[in-house]
């Protein structure tokens, strides 16, 4: 970590590095996806806004209701993204501990009168703006993990001599240390606390995304693979238990396997989504020409916006959108590989994997490839704070990209 040492001595170098050029391909992809997402949202939400038929939102019959709000947040988000790219991402190391503490506090605040419920789940917080603290928790976990794990090599280098071989606790401690368990304890503790809080909301999709974000950072940082095998088995077992033993998830799985069986509930949504996608065909019905958006497909402006995109733009349009996501994600990993330091790499890996997982899970649900989870599509789904936070995350990636040395690193 020669750069870091030098940076402390010479702040101007640091500042110069931070003023390096942003990665333009990544920036362009982000802006394109934001723009395409806004257009698709406009088309998808047009009908539901006009009919004012979505419970809990009063659009007053204004067909542009959702679009205008989303546009405002997009502008705010892009400005915020640009501001964040100007910040030297190394400062995030300092922010990581307050961020994780803040995230936990925000999650706890949900259970105060500041919390807001919708559809039987308490996921929102009202602090001037309405937002989901889980969005912040996801980034906070990634920042905190990236900060700690970027120093892992230094820690591993220091020889641990604390374990006495004479006592049983000492021997157990030494064993746990050797297999890398002790190293994982703080991470595990943080993840478990956050998962527990999300579970109480309940917020299944939030839990999945926090786990994916955390796991990706741990994975990239070199944690032994058998921990992932073990954790995967554990999560798999837990999922099996939840799916088979709780009515809520069983119904969702059944609705996925056989949408016709539950045409009034989740199955109905999936069925309508597949009708929208399938009837789009290769070329689609043309932008704005969806019929499914006319009160057939529920939540079309939220989780199921992609189905309308498929109906209107066809397989070609859907594949172009998927390709944009893939390019963004691949470019993100490329930036991770070329990041100036391990912290930058891990930060991007976490944010990028989160984006990829969210995209995959949403499109998978909408097309019926995987069971319903309730994850929104980045850049596309309606939700102002989510979009702002998403763009802020992209700002972090771009901030890291500024410090990539022009020809090559390493």
């Amino acid at each position: 970590m020669a750069f870091r040492g030098r940076a402390r001595r010479d702040l101007t170098t640091e500042q110069q590095l931070a003023r390096g050029p942003m990665d333009l391909p990544f920036l362009a992809l982000v802006l394109m996806l934001t723009a395409v997402g806004l257009i698709v949202l406009l088309s998808a939400s047009f009908a539901i806004a006009m009919y004012n038929s979505y419970p809990g939102v009063d659009t007053g019959g204004d067909p542009y209701y959702y679009f205008i709000r989303q546009l405002r947040f997009a502008v705010v988000g892009i400005v915020l993204m640009y501001v964040i790219t100007k910040i030297d991402y190394q400062r995030l190391r300092l922010l990581s501990v307050p961020a994780i503490i803040g995230a936990v506090i925000l999650l706890l605040l949900i259970f105060t009168p500041l919390g807001r419920s919708s559809n039987g789940a308490r996921r929102w917080l009202w602090l001037g703006v309405r937002f989901q603290p889980s969005e912040i928790a996801k980034v906070a976990v990634i920042m905190f993990f990236a900060t700690r794990l970027s120093k892992r090599n230094d820690e591993l280098r220091a020889p641990p001599k604390r374990w006495s071989k004479r006592t049983i606790t000492g021997r157990i401690g030494a064993f746990l240390d050797r297999i890398g368990f002790l190293e994982l304890v703080p991470y595990g503790a943080i993840v478990l606390v956050i998962l527990f809080l999300l579970y109480k909301e309940p917020h299944m999709s939030g839990m999945i995304l926090v786990l994916v974000g955390a796991a990706s950072v741990l994975f990239a940082s070199g944690i032994r693979l058998y921990w992932f095998v073990g954790a995967g088995a554990l999560v798999g077992g837990a999922l099996w238990f939840i799916i088979t033993q709780t009515g809520y998830m069983t119904a969702r799985i059944n609705a996925w396997l056989n949408p016709m069986s539950d045409l009034k509930g989740d199955g109905f949504q999936l069925w309508q989504s597949q009708i929208a996608i399938g009837s789009g065909g290769l070329l689609g019905k043309g932008l704005g020409n969806s019929i499914q958006k006319y009160r057939f497909l529920p939540e079309m402006q939220n989780d199921f916006v992609f189905a309308i995109a498929c109906e209107e733009l066809g397989l070609i349009g859907a594949c172009i959108i998927i390709a944009l996501f893939m390019l963004l994600i691949i470019r993100g990993y490329w930036l991770a590989i070329h990041a100036r330091d391990r912290f930058g790499t891990l930060l991007i890996v976490g944010i990028n994997t989160l984006l990829a997982a969210q995209t995959f899970l949403n499109i998978g649900v909408v097309t019926g490839a995987i069971p319903t989870t309730g994850i929104s599509l980045p850049f596309f789904s309606y939700g102002g704070t989510a979009l702002v936070i998403q763009l802020a995350e992209m700002g972090i990636v771009l901030s890291v990209s500024r410090q990539i040395a022009a020809p090559k690193v390493e």
Binding site: L156, T345, T353
Partner: protein, 819 residues
Amino acid sequence: MEQRERKPRGDHGRSNRSLLRRTIVLMAVMGVAVFVPLVVQLVRLQIVQYDTWKQRAANQQTQSVAISANRGTIYDSEGRAMAMSATVYQLILSPRDVTALVNKDSKDFKDAEGNFNEAAYNAAVQAKRTTIVNWLVSNLGMDEERLWKRVEKTSSAYEVLATELEEEQAELVRQFVSDEKLANSLYLVNSSKRYYPFASVASHVLGFMNQNETSGDRKVGAMGIEAIYEDALSGELGRQVYSKNGAGHEMMSGYEMYFDAENGYDLTLTIDERVQSLLEQALTEGIQTYDVQAGAFAIAIDPQTGAVLGMASSPEFDPNDYDAIIDQDLLDQMAAAAEQYGTDSEEYSAAYKAAYDAQMRNKALSDTYEPGSTFKPLTVAMALEQGIISLDDHYYCGGSYTVAGRSIACSKRTGHGEQTLTEAVGNSCNVAMMQIAEKIGASTFYDYLEGYGLKDTTGIDLAGEGKSLFWSRSDFTGPYGAQSLAVASFGQTFKVTPVQMISAFASVINGGHLLEPYVVQSIRDDEGRTVYYHETTEVRQTISESVSEKIRGILEYVVEGGGGKNAYQAGYRIAGKTGTSEKIELKATDPDNDDVICSFMGYAPADDPKVLVLLAYDTPKRSSPHSNYTKNGTYISGGNLAAPMAGKLIASILDYMGVEKEYTAEELPGADVSVRNVTGIELTSAMSRLSGQGLTWRTVGSGATVVRQVPAAGVSIPGGSAVVLYLGDEAPPEQVEVPSLAGLTLAAAKTRLEELGLFLRPSGASGLTDPAVRAITQSIEAGTPVAPGTVIDVQFADNVDDYDVENNNGTAGIQAPSE
């Protein structure tokens, strides 16, 4: 960790390589691999299963509404609408959508914590239902209890609440639906209702509409013309397809397609509603007069074309409400069953079923009967055509004739004695017929049966034509066929349908042309273009024109001086033949059975037949078992029951058709004259004016000048009637009561009426002055007050000796047809 001992640099490098490797793995997995199944799934949905999903989308995104085609109108020959359709509405309730009217996710049903308040939700749903039920009960008069049952079927989306709402009611419903925003829950579906403006007139010919197994909700023609011309009448349903949104509302800017409905064709019948009504009146009158037990039928055709002018069968029904029993006798039978067993009993159901079957049966088309003596002209025609007899032949009837060792009696047991061929038919002599048939021979006779079309269906364009019953040719011509031939010669022991009989009979009077009878004259599309016109279809020539002419002469004699004389109507030149037929199937099981069908087959004018009528009464009630008389004292035979009714019927049909009356020299004095004005003139010149018209007079009061006259100038009264001339201060009474004339001779009846200043117009029975001829019916009932000068039509009839019940024609035990 095992690398702990390694050099920091190498360790660091290895760690960085691991980071690089793992990031690349993540890039491959999260950036590429996970998207592969998504694209695969998209290809599956959008390309492979495209058609399936497109169809599913179309199913829910489009609404297809059937546009009913107007069913064609059925007109009678004069353009009167006999059956017509009008738009009515079905009222459909979707209980499922009524429930969906209340938004379950609404804030109204959440308490402070956002929990679902089921009680409040249920109350809101119940309130909606109450609104609907109350409205329907108070505005459409529906049954509240039944409505509640249906509105609570929440899984159902289609409850038909009413099937035939008229436009005014439909408008009320539309208003209510739009006021309460019930668009999907309560709606109207167009349908049509068939109206029969003349109710039961021609009901068996027209048929009716109902649903059958294959038609579903749609009503289709179930009988008669409605059934057989279903395709022509119904037209093609149209469809309107439009896109709708998820809430089921039509979208303003959407895909829309319209397939025109093709309206059904209009039919014009040969049936004339007026002629049909006359036939039905004749049936009703005869049934009441003679207490007929098993219904009656009548057919009128144009013998020159085969066009059916009317076809009536009693009991009849009302196609507007076809399952209601309307015949009083049938209602009485049902009432008797109800009284004895109660309305829930099987016996009552059986009585209803029997009554329903009876009123639905078109006896004129579907039933078969033994034509009896009405067949005799056909036998004579065969022999004349074969040239084996002539009009000059004489036949001796000794009261019976022995065939193959069996003596078969004639209608007159004492025998008709010596008679010409014409007289033999006039006497309805069975012996002469048996002799003629013997000459013809079984094989030739059978050829003619086939030639007359009696063994085939006639091809009439009505559903449900019956099938005749005959011996096989081999039985008939075989060694045991002689007796069959003998009784067949006078129309017994085989059975034909009335339609077959009338078309065969038409051929012997129209010059030998066997014509296909038909009911539909023309078919027009809804733009008035004729798409079908029935041309007279000749099946074959049965006899020659010259033979036909001879038969016409014989038949005119039958009414003028033979057994058909009760059908005589002055001025109409009616010809025909009576018939009294047994029921072979009843006699087979009960030799004592003496049920008969009394019929008359007649036409007019005799030389140029314009209308041929077959009128028959099935089983007039005997005053006591085996009595030869009805309760009103009429001798039971075709000549006494059917002939007078038929004569009057034919006369009224000719009047309606506008056929000029033709009086013979003997008839002329009795023909109607229009009374001239004699009021205010001297008595003597009044007298000469009246006598100049062939009228007589009588005076009331004294004076030289006629002050008043009855009847007034211009009234038509029969020639020879006495005009009442009032002289001085005498004035006619305001009103007089019509006396009862039943059983009086012509002279007595005339005197009785003229005393009161009323006039008599006699009809029926040639040779009216014969003291045996008595009045049987009068046009104005006894006891009715009328103005002086009123003319009363009186039907006279003679007791004709044309059938001997005690002898039963002696056909019992004759080999019955096996075919």
